[in-house]
């Protein structure tokens, strides 16, 4: 399965992977981030239920310094 995460292509990911599994794969701390999938928010409580599909576009964000 192929995904686009934060504008970058990711190839050959396992079929049926959930958002939670992807975050673990990327070693991202769940508590400190938020996820948008194909322009829709994926709530933290749904990370382990949301199964990803071929070509999904994900944005994973956090807070950085700003004015």
């Amino acid at each position: 399965m192929n995904l686009v995460v934060n504008g970058k292509d990711y190839h050959d990911l396992p079929e049926g992977m959930t958002v939670g599994a992807l975050l673990d794969h990327l070693t991202l701390p769940r508590k400190k981030i938020a996820v948008e999938r194909n322009m829709e928010i994926v709530s933290k409580s749904k990370f382990d239920d949301a199964v990803l599909c071929e070509g999904d576009r994900l944005e994973i964000i956090h807070f950085i310094g700003g004015g």
Partner: protein, 264 residues
């Protein structure tokens, strides 16, 4: 009264804040310096930006590791957004990341002056309010737009004092005063403050608070400037509440000058 307080708390959208100073978290050399400046400033609210996680280095330091979102109110901004839709999308993500609905809306225009695009700002404010956000809005120092934003339901009106990052101080105190006079929600000067006297002036004009980033972050000694800003905001607020003396054209002696009281 704690040293950070003026007499009364700042209240925005029903939330109480001890300090009337809000500081940014951009442009510091390190997050640690930022955290130290925050403590020194006495502020209890910080603006933050929302950006993609760096996937090539997931272990790099994160802001939340240095500034605890449980202890300080994070005010997510929409810097970098140029349309209402971008702003709404960004703040929905911020709300999901942190659970906050108090946000700072800024829809910028040309990079040279970073003036708010007021047409898009108005549109975005409406979209956000309809989506349940409490919107603190960065705006021009135009009393007409300020009124429209307040009527729309914005939680705070935040006119610029001068262009973002310019440090030029309040360029149009008359307009800031007009806005203060007509507005029922908090008015917070956002952008343009360069040094302590600029912050004091904003408060003397009757503003409810001051938001700054570069004035502290780009000072030679940011921690010391943070202390200066804390005192400036308190001084300005107290001076405003005290009510300044009347301006007079000529001198009025402070010691009695009557001849009969003087030694020969």
């Amino acid at each position: 009264m704690s040293p950070n307080n003026t007499i009364e708390k700042l209240i925005v959208a029903g939330r109480e804040f001890d300090s009337r100073l809000i500081i940014g978290t951009g442009k510091y050399k390190t997050y640690q310096e930022n955290a130290d400046a925050l403590v020194a400033s006495g502020a209890d609210m910080v603006t933050v930006a929302v950006r993609r996680v760096n996937l090539s280095n997931p272990d790099e330091p994160m802001l939340v590791d240095f500034i605890d979102p449980k202890k300080y109110t994070y005010l997510p901004n929409t810097a970098g957004c140029f349309t209402g839709e971008d702003a709404v999308r960004t703040l929905r993500l911020a709300r999901e990341a942190g659970g906050w609905d108090l946000v700072k809306l800024e829809v910028l225009s040309h990079p040279k002056h970073l003036y708010p695009d007021m047409e898009e700002t108005m549109r975005a404010a409406k979209l956000l309010i309809d989506d349940g956000f409490e919107v603190m809005v960065y705006c021009t120092d135009d009393p007409v737009f300020a009124r429209k934003l307040e009527d729309m339901g914005c939680a705070a009106i935040m006119p610029l004092g001068a262009p973002i990052g310019s440090g030029l101080g309040i360029q149009n105190p008359l307009n800031i005063q007009f806005i203060v006079e007509q507005t029922s929600v908090p008015v917070i000067v956002d952008a343009g403050v360069g040094t302590a006297s600029d912050a004091a002036l904003a408060m003397e004009l009757g503003c409810d608070g001051v938001l700054m980033n570069t004035a502290i972050a780009a000072a030679q000694d940011p921690i010391r400037m943070a202390v200066a800003m804390k005192h400036a905001v308190i001084a300005g607020r107290e001076a405003f509440l005290a009510g300044r003396m009347e301006r007079k054209q000529y001198a009025v002696a402070s010691s009695p000058l009557a001849k009969e009281g003087m030694i020969d």
